[in-house]
């Protein structure tokens, strides 16, 4: 009985829903979608990602660096520039400096604290970067 009633209702709703059909959007519906898509294409070419230093730029920079190093190492360079302090003088300062550093003793707690802090700063960089990137993301 109850099932029969539901079947009747089922047929009734089918008839009713078929009867009313669908809603129709405005006349310029398709047109405005197509123009939105076209506009979107134009936009994406304007804001296309372009690296500050192009690939060729990097190649040139690398070549220059390599050349300089090669020149320093293999080049016939006269380093005896008269006004430079002699190597011994510079070295003695340095050794003094490193000796005092060696004597420096920090409490373990401070060292662990500093290590933790450094670690979290690096982690934070990742999150901040993501956050800032999301700010400009559309949708």
């Amino acid at each position: 009985m109850e099932e029969n009633k539901d079947k009747k209702l089922d047929d009734f709703v089918k008839k009713v829903v078929k009867n009313i059909g669908l809603e129709t959007p405005s006349d310029h519906f398709t047109q405005s979608i197509m123009s939105k898509i076209a506009a979107q294409k134009e936009n994406s070419t304007v804001t296309i990602y372009k690296p500050l230093i192009s690939k060729t730029g990097w190649l040139v920079l690398a070549a220059i660096t390599l050349f300089l190093f090669a020149f320093i190492i293999f080049g016939n360079l006269d380093l005896n520039v008269g006004w430079l302090p002699s190597i011994d003088q510079v070295a003695s300062y340095k050794i003094d400096f490193f000796d005092t550093l060696k004597q420096l003793r920090l409490p373990n707690t401070l060292v662990y604290g500093l290590m933790g802090l450094t670690f979290f700063i690096y982690v934070q960089i990742i999150f901040l970067k993501k956050h800032l990137e999301n700010r400009y993301a559309t949708n």
Partner: protein, 194 residues
Amino acid sequence: MSQKPDDYLIDKVIKGENNAYAELVDRYKQMVYTLAYKIVKNREDAEEVAQDTFVKAYNALNDFKGDSKFSTWLYKIAYYRSLDYLKKNKRRVETTKIDISEEYNIASLDDALDALEAKDRTEIIKHAIQKLPGEDSVLITLYYFETLSMNEISKVMGISPNTIKVRLFRGRKRLAKILENNLEKEIIHSYGRK
């Protein structure tokens, strides 16, 4: 007009022929618009959501794998876009709270509807469907108008076929009740005019 299959048109769009997409839009705009309208219950908003749906579908067309029908995939986007739209605008849509345990009489309901003029009849039915909660209304449209299978509806709305069955059962009862109430009002109203 010969109907080219969806896949053929989709291939063309991916190859860069935008005109083919216009054809797809024309083919599905009514259904997508109707679904959006059922949920946001406002013509301007529905138009916006429907347009959004097609733009989004266009952008995601490369990801469309073809393991479901294009229409099902499109309806799913439309359904979720509409829900998102409601959420974003924090709008609560007014729907009726009908107790579905109430009794109704289909035979007299059918007769009463038949007695009305076609235009009035459509108007009353549309109004009643509009009063249903958005999801029920979408469900009824997909099932009775689009005649999608339970499995396809389940893909679109992300609920299990069993839940769909239960909700359809409740939805059509609710619809009958709303119709009955509205018809009573209409009949009283038209008597008053005479």
